[in-house]
Amino acid sequence: MNKFNSVKAVTTFVRVFIGALLLAISFTSIAEQSATINNETNTASDTELALQLEHLKSQVLQLNRELFILEEDLLFPASTQIAIFISVDTGQFFAIDSVEVKIDNKEVAGFLYTDRQRKALEQGGIQKLYLGNLKVGEYQLTAIFTGIDPEGRTVKRAASYDFEKDDDAQMIELKVVDDTSTYRSKVVVEEWVL
């Protein structure tokens, strides 16, 4: 934060007063009273404009939401939809670096994490890694996580999961969980029950 911002921070909580007092040393501002009256009128009008803008912003957000739903309905209908999520539980024994996901040995998603993304996961965030389509049937999902252990060594953790895709949307969460009994992390697969 620069100087300007620190002033802003102070003046946010304190009435700005100094300017008027300083000017009073050599000038008496005649226009001040009328300016105050004008300001009150302006504020009312400004508030109206701010409300209009706020309303439009809400509408843009709503439109975006509707288009998202339409897009998902068209591209990933529930009957074929599969989504894969990634989460990290504390990340004490494993600092996630990358993940690779395969379905029936075919690579469907891969991700390299930045520090910020890793921290967001460690703070409780869930990442939607993959959204795709699968026909009804049986499949095998394989996930390989690469990361750093507390000693700074590169380690890998993997999981394989057999599942059957039916007519409902399939949501699978891959959780990197710390196991305090073994001082290691492991990958736990959770299928969301909708």
Binding site: V10, F17, L67, E71, I126, L131, A159
Partner: protein, 722 residues
């Protein structure tokens, strides 16, 4: 449905898992929590706009958000400037919590345990605190917008305040009810430890200064408060996640940055207190005290300009002329567009005229006059250029990169996905949180922007441009969705055609008939235990040869002795029959299995056929998508037009405000020019008087040198003191 799970490092067999599955009841996933955490993933990366979009999408999918997600949404809406929806959520929050409590009690009765209520109670306690934080933040934003009535109204929604939030609550009350005191202010909690918040004290001192204009006794109280503030070290409290979300401006900064911010804020508070103190001393004409106060004012303070001016003025009053002259010259040089600098110019010229020679005074006044004329010219140029500009945001931009940042911010999260990844939600890129500020090169405009209302209007303009950019993205998306709908329609048409063809050819009926025929034959063969029916190709050949041999033997009849042949044939037939009997169970089972597979294949084909029938009958779904798409397109066009209109209105308002500012500055400059000219005339008059006196002295006395000496001396009142 889960079949098997193999987790490396974990030992679990399929049998165990199946057993576990049978024993455990199916518990539905807490989707509220999962969606909330997806939004958190964006928030923790510093993308509140994406987080808000995610929450909105979750809301659409889940129909209603739980209290925690609703509060998170309110916080994100506040940071996006969507005050009204945030306020609605917060006001209705008690009802919301009550609904959740009833739902939890109902769930308890169904499950026969207290888990749900306990969970709810824990959440409710936290939620009340969060609601308070959100209401405080909302009040703050209304105050920043100058909407005092909304700020007061929001404050009335607060019914209890824990000690930790009391200083913030108190300050917001001070600002909302300024200069009065809020009579309905909640009582200070008993465990309040932070009652000496510098902001409360500063505001209190300011209030006393205002009151002192009517009753001078208030000055003493103000001085005492300010003296306390300027020596009190101030430390910022630790911010929790929720406090950061709702209140703090500087989000997700590093610890080092936070420390620096805290130091700067602490310094700024102390500097402000010093400045106010000096101001009071000057208004009480205690210039020596003001001089002492400002002597140690830090050079790197954000209040440097005001402090310089006060210090120069105080120095002049305590006859520290060298200091005051230097300071006044510094102000003129460093802040040529500031009204304080203009006052300084006049003070400087007055000091030169009084302290040095009248001739030097005239020269100083001439410089000052030309300085003011130059400013008038600058102001006129600025006015012309400003009024000619069509897009106010491109006028005199000094931080172009900052404005361009908006697009980078919009695209950044999406670009982080690797190209092979399919998670490309265009919706994720829509940014409603404004991260950009307009900072002009023009000093006039920079000064005009000190007016909060004008700054807010400029911010609105940036918001509108950002929303327009968002809508352009959505427009691209609708075009893309139109293509998808067309492709879906084509795909559906193909499906319907091939279905019709299959129906015409009676493919399914033929297949079913054939299956029924085969099943009947197989059943007959099994019932008759017709082992020969299951013979393989070689065996069939053998059976055929045996049959032919029998026929040949029958034809020969008694013409020849065929007993030996018949015996051999019977032996071969016996061996073959034994072999067929041996293979019968296996072969009959294999054929039954094949028949089952055929049945399964036909069932699958039937299911597909039904699916196809369903798809071919889903004209409604496609029509619905088309309708939604058309509605979206119409809405898009309408929104773009409304935004354009609003932009126009705001631009007009900004121009009016800036022109009013220009007019104000023009009046001030004209006053300065006038007073400068009047002062210069006075000096010239004094020079004329002095000249006249000199002439008369020259006539009456030849002692010319002494008169010249007098002329160059400054008046006794302006002699510098040590």
């Amino acid at each position: 449905m889960c079949l098997t799970t193999t987790v490396y490092g974990e030992s679990s067999t399929e049998d165990e898992q199946d057993k576990n599955k049978q024993n455990k009841p199916v518990i539905k996933t807490d989707l509220q929590d999962k969606y909330y955490r997806q939004a958190l993933y964006y928030y923790f990366q510093g993308y509140p706009a994406q987080a808000l979009t995610q929450v909105e999408q979750s809301k659409a999918k889940l129909t209603q958000l739980d209290s925690r997600s609703a509060l998170f949404e309110a916080g994100l809406q506040l940071s996006a400037g969507l005050l009204q929806p945030a306020k609605e959520t917060l006001i209705n929050f008690e009802t919301f919590l009550e609904q959740e409590r009833i739902a939890a009690e109902k769930a308890n009765l169904e499950d026969d345990n207290d888990e749900h209520t306990e969970k709810h109670q824990k959440r409710a306690v936290k939620a009340k605190e969060l609601r308070l934080i959100a209401l405080l933040s909302l009040t703050d934003q209304y105050l920043a917008q100058g909407d005092i009535s909304q700020a007061k109204d929001t404050l009335t929604k607060i019914t209890t305040v824990p000690a930790v939030y009391y200083p913030e609550y108190y300050v917001l009350n001070q600002l909302a009810y300024w200069p009065e005191k809020n009579k309905n202010l909640l009582a200070k909690p008993e465990d309040s430890t932070n009652e000496n918040s510098p902001y409360i004290q500063l505001n209190e001192a300011l209030r006393l200064i205002e009151l002192a204009q009517a009753d001078a006794t208030h000055y003493d109280l103000a001085i005492s408060a300010l003296q306390q503030i300027k020596v009190t070290p101030w430390h910022e409290e630790e911010s929790s996640f929720w406090k950061t979300l709702f209140i703090d401006d500087a989000k997700l900064t590093s610890p080092a940055e936070k420390l620096q911010i805290a130091k700067l804020q602490s310094q700024a508070i102390q500097d402000y207190a010093k400045l106010l103190l000096a101001q009071i001393y000057i208004s009480q004409q205690q210039y020596d005290l003001a001089f002492v106060e400002l002597k140690t004012f830090p050079g790197e303070s954000p209040y440097q300009e005001s402090a310089l001016f006060l210090f120069a003025f105080a120095s002049q009053q305590v006859k520290q002329y060298t200091i005051s002259l230097n300071l006044l010259n510094l102000l003129i040089k460093d802040y040529p567009y500031s009204p304080l600098s203009w006052q300084s110019a006049e003070l400087m010229a007055a000091q030169v005229s009084e302290q040095q020679s009248l001739a030097q005074g005239v020269s100083a006044y001439q410089s000052v006059e030309s300085f003011f004329v130059q400013r008038q010219q600058d102001l006129s140029d600025f006015s012309r250029e400003f009024n000619q500009s069509h897009n106010l945001l491109t006028f005199s931009v000094s931080q172009l990169s900052n404005l361009q940042l908006s697009n980078e911010v919009l695209l950044e999260p999406a670009m982080q996905h690797p190209p092979n990844q399919e998670v490309i939600n265009i919706g994720d890129r829509v940014d409603v949180v404004n991260t950009v500020e307009y900072f002009p090169k023009s000093v006039w405009l920079q000064q005009a922007l000190a007016d909060v209302e004008l700054a807010n209007l400029y911010q609105s303009l940036i918001d509108i441009d950002q929303q327009t950019a968002n809508l352009q993205l959505l427009k691209d998306k609708t075009a893309w969705l139109a293509q998808i709908i067309t492709l879906n329609q084509q795909r559906k048409a193909k499906i319907v055609t091939s279905k019709k063809l299959r129906e015409e050819q009676g493919t399914f009926a033929l297949l079913n008939n054939e299956r029924d025929r085969l099943a009947a034959i197989h059943a007959q063969q099994l019932a008759n235990e017709d082992k020969a029916a299951f013979a393989n190709e070689v065996e069939r050949e053998w059976l055929s040869r045996i049959e032919n041999s029998y026929k040949a033997l029958n034809a020969i009849g008694s013409q020849k002795n065929t007993e030996e042949y018949k015996e051999r044939l019977a032996r071969v037939e016996g061996v073959l029959a034994w072999q067929l009997a041996q293979q019968f169970p296996q072969r009959s089972w294999a054929q039954t299995k094949q028949l089952q597979q055929l049945n399964k294949a036909i069932d699958e084909a039937t299911a597909k056929q039904k699916n196809i029938e369903r798809i071919s009958n889903t004209q409604d779904a496609i029509d619905l998508s088309i309708n939604k798409h058309n509605q979206s397109e119409t809405q898009l066009i309408s929104l773009l037009s409304q935004l354009a209109q609003l932009r126009e209105q705001i631009s007009i308002k900004i121009k009016a405000k800036v022109n009013a500012y220009i007019e104000e500055q023009n009046v001030t400059l004209a006053e300065h020019v006038l007073t400068t000219r009047q002062s210069m005339a006075n000096v010239l008059e004094r020079m004329a008087v002095a000249d006249k006196r000199l002439s008369s002295q020259l006539i009456t006395s030849p002692e010319k040198t002494s008169a010249e000496k007098d002329f160059s001396q400054p008046p006794s009142t302006m002699k510098e003191t040590d």
